[in-house]
């Protein structure tokens, strides 16, 4: 491919995070950027398997702001009639079934108010008007966020890619990074199966291979791929794509409509995880078979709110290995160890929805002379300066996954 030319910045990985970062770099005026993707298409592996839910109501101000930035970006991208993320701003309903959760909702509402995010507590009756057929009678509290919604992850990534191409960013598909060249403690280039590229900066957005790419420069990071699955049902009468996204954290479920079907997923306890040391940079994480015990439990757990869930056939199972970190925080920014090496990973299943905000933080970490304390706190160096073992990293990452919808501490 003719796109293989030297570049100032090389991004390894053409998923939502890699392309989202390319887009933010382009917006910041950095257009001498080359994105390498080993697959024939962007968003070919984990990103396209994502559910595409975008939620802004969070327990911390920083995470709320990241999500708000993402929403702003999606709305901007949606204006392009030719390539857009199919962003549907249908709003979201977050449902509390017990008292600790009600208290947490109070805190989330306060964070939303501070961030200037529109969110209100509404009655079960008001929620039912927004999502007919769903039984909200056991809800103890419901947060309605009108600017939330969902998008198509592949479309989003393609949209980032189109917008950044227009600004001069280059994409080289079917191109696998194999080595990173370092001289005097600085990144000087990337060796690929299509040739060697000279560059000043490498951004690691390699998803389930981010561990291996970091290893190329001698960094060992606890990036743990954890299996996630959800399903789309057969068509179901009475569902419309305009219905809001629903999260029921007390039973660890999320759902939305997909055309006229139900998309249902959740965060099961004791998730399957894998050890990235077991496969190589040129290899793949283990194949995933649908785990019917897990998927069936999602449906069973939804029955009290939506009895039809008991009988809805499964049309397709989506599955992937999003990477989790033992502290549940992103791994973003440069490392002190090797100049010019920047992380954009460990997204804890927020890669797609957070991509715009994450991309922005990556750019901030690279270009700002004094990045915010929050961005600095995401540095990969936190794992280099502290001792950790793979056993506790995997246990920690699994816990973060299983408690994705856990009640946050006050």
């Amino acid at each position: 491919m003719s796109n293989i030319r030297d570049a100032k910045i090389v991004i390894i990985g053409g998923g939502a995070v890699g392309c989202g970062t390319a887009y933010q770099l382009a917006l910041a005026g950095e257009t001498d950027v080359l994105v390498l993707e080993k697959e024939p298409s962007v968003a070919a592996v984990t990103s396209a398997q994502a559910a595409g839910l975008v939620g802004q109501v969070r327990t911390t101000l920083e995470r709320t702001q990241i999500a708000m930035r993402s929403v702003k970006t999606f709305s901007e991208l949606q204006k392009d009639p030719k390539t857009n993320p199919t962003w549907r701003q249908v709003g979201s309903l977050r449902v509390a079934l017990n008292e600790p959760r009600v208290e947490e909702f109070g805190r989330m509402k306060a964070v939303a108010d501070r961030a200037g995010l529109e969110a209100e507590l509404i009655t079960p009756k008001a929620a039912e008007a927004r999502w007919p057929g769903m039984n909200f009678s056991m809800a103890r509290a419901i947060i309605w966020c009108p600017t939330d919604g969902y998008l198509q992850p592949y479309d989003l990534t393609a949209s980032y890619s189109a917008q950044s191409s227009r600004r001069g960013v280059r994409f080289s598909l079917n191109t696998a990074a194999q080595q990173i060249l370092i001289k005097d403690g600085r990144v000087t280039g990337v060796v690929t199966d299509k040739g060697t590229i000279q560059c000043e900066t490498v951004i690691n957005a390699a998803g389930a291979h981010a561990f291996h790419v970091a290893k190329l420069v001698g960094l060992e990071l606890p990036l743990v791929p954890v299996r996630h699955e959800y399903f789309i049902s057969v068509p179901c009468d009475g569902l419309a794509p305009e219905y809001p996204v629903i999260r029921i954290p007390d039973v660890s479920l999320y759902l939305r409509t997909d055309v006229n079907a139900l998309l249902l997923g959740g965060w099961e306890p004791n998730p399957l995880h894998t050890d990235p040391r077991k496969y190589a940079l040129g290899g793949n994480p283990p194949g995933i078979q649908p785990d019917w015990d897990v998927l069936a439990k999602f449906a069973v757990d939804l029955v009290p709110q939506f009895p039809k869930a008991a009988d809805l056939g499964v049309r397709s199972v989506f599955k992937g290995w999003p990477t989790f970190t033992p502290d549940g925080r992103f791994v973003i920014g440069p490392t002190q160890r090797v100049k010019g090496f920047v992380m954009a990973g460990g997204c804890n299943a927020h890669g797609v929805s957070g991509s715009a905000g994450i991309g922005h933080h990556v750019v901030e970490s690279m270009l700002e002379s004094s990045p915010s304390p929050y961005v600095r706190s995401l540095s990969p160096d936190r794992f280099l300066n502290s001792s950790w073992t793979w056993d506790n990293a995997q246990a920690g990452a699994s816990r973060i996954y299983a408690e994705y919808y856990g009640v946050s501490k006050p």
């Binding site: 479309d155 189109a162 079917n174």
Partner: protein
């Protein structure tokens, strides 16, 4: 092994799906050195019977009471015939017609049934069937206990049978209306007037993606080209989502999985979910304005350009202009 294929027919001939069922029967029949016959049920089926005779010996059950697909009558005729003539295996294409009728006939005879079969194999001499469960997420291999066995076969799983070198005989079978259950009366049939084949059955599929901005444009360009190529129409998820095409058109991971001889992808970028539904097509032709679109990775022939400009030219060329 005696095998009977229940053929569906439309006017002049048998449906393409029934030819796939015949291909399945030929493969099984060959293995057991058995015989294959086909059965046409209906009224005034001269041309269809003559078409069917190109593929296998034909039994024609012709009676005004069978003019419309009323399940209990058709099932009774099939069950009586199977009992009298001792068929071991009865198969049909997995269509709405067969789904209604075959299980009923199987029940009348205390037979065993496997539906939606996508493949077969012989295990220690025993015929086993592969059938998808959970929308294809898993494939079960099943054997049937007891006889007769009833099977519906997915048309996309077997290439349609070719005509035999010699024409086969056509035999009429008697239908005694007194034996037929008349509890169901046919009132009316409502169907969308579509001259195009079903997307899973067609040998050529013309599919449109988000480049098409309205249902009218889709019909004029995708539909127009499909008619020239005697093709079915399909679409990407994006158009179904936008309400431009109906659900039944969707090709992809959450839609239909197709493997036609020719798949024409118009204005489809080729997201992995779409590729999952069509990448096994024998020849893929793609038109897209974006030269980097991933559809070109799987396409045998690719053309970079605007479908609004190129498709009318293609249609005009097919019109001989």
């Amino acid at each position: 092994m005696r095998i009977l294929i229940v053929c569906e027919h439309v006017g002049k001939g048998i449906r393409l799906g029934s030819r796939s069922a015949l291909a399945f029967a030929n493969a099984v029949g060959e293995h057991y050195q058995g015989s294959v016959e086909c059965l046409l049920l209906g009224h005034s089926m001269g041309e269809a019977a003559s078409d069917a005779a190109a593929y296998a010996p034909v039994l024609v059950a012709d009676h005004p009471a069978l003019a419309n697909p009323v399940a209990d009558r058709h099932a009774r005729v099939i069950a009586d015939l199977v009992r009298q003539r001792g068929y071991d295996l009865v198969a049909a294409a997995a269509t709405t017609f067969a789904k209604d009728i075959l299980p009923r006939a199987a029940g009348m005879l205390g037979g065993a049934m496997a539906s939606e079969v996508i493949g077969h194999e012989f295990r220690d001499g025993r015929l086993c069937f592969r059938r998808p469960l959970f929308a294809g997420a898993i494939v079960a291999t099943v054997g049937l206990r007891g006889t007769p066995q009833f099977v519906t076969v997915r048309p996309s799983a077997y290439a349609p049978a070719h005509p035999r070198s010699e024409r086969c005989r056509v035999t009429s079978v008697a239908v005694d209306p007194a034996t037929l259950p008349m509890r169901t009366e046919f009132e009316a049939s409502q169907s969308k007037l579509s001259s195009r084949p079903d997307v899973t059955e067609a040998r050529v599929v013309v599919s449109g993606g988000r480049a098409f901005k309205s249902a009218e444009d889709f019909e004029r360009l995708v539909g127009g080209l499909a008619d020239k190529l005697h093709a079915a129409t399909g679409s990407s998820r994006a158009l179904v989502d936008a309400g431009i095409t109906p659900n039944a058109f969707q090709v992809g991971q959450t839609g239909k999985v197709v493997a036609p001889d020719l798949y024409v992808a118009l204005g489809i970028s080729g997201a992995v979910q779409h590729l999952a539904g069509m990448k096994n097509s024998k020849t893929i032709v793609a038109i897209n304005s974006d030269p980097e679109a991933p559809i070109f990775e799987v396409a045998d022939y690719g053309l970079v350009g605007d479908v609004y400009e190129l498709v009318p030219q293609w249609i005009a060329r097919l019109n001989g202009k």
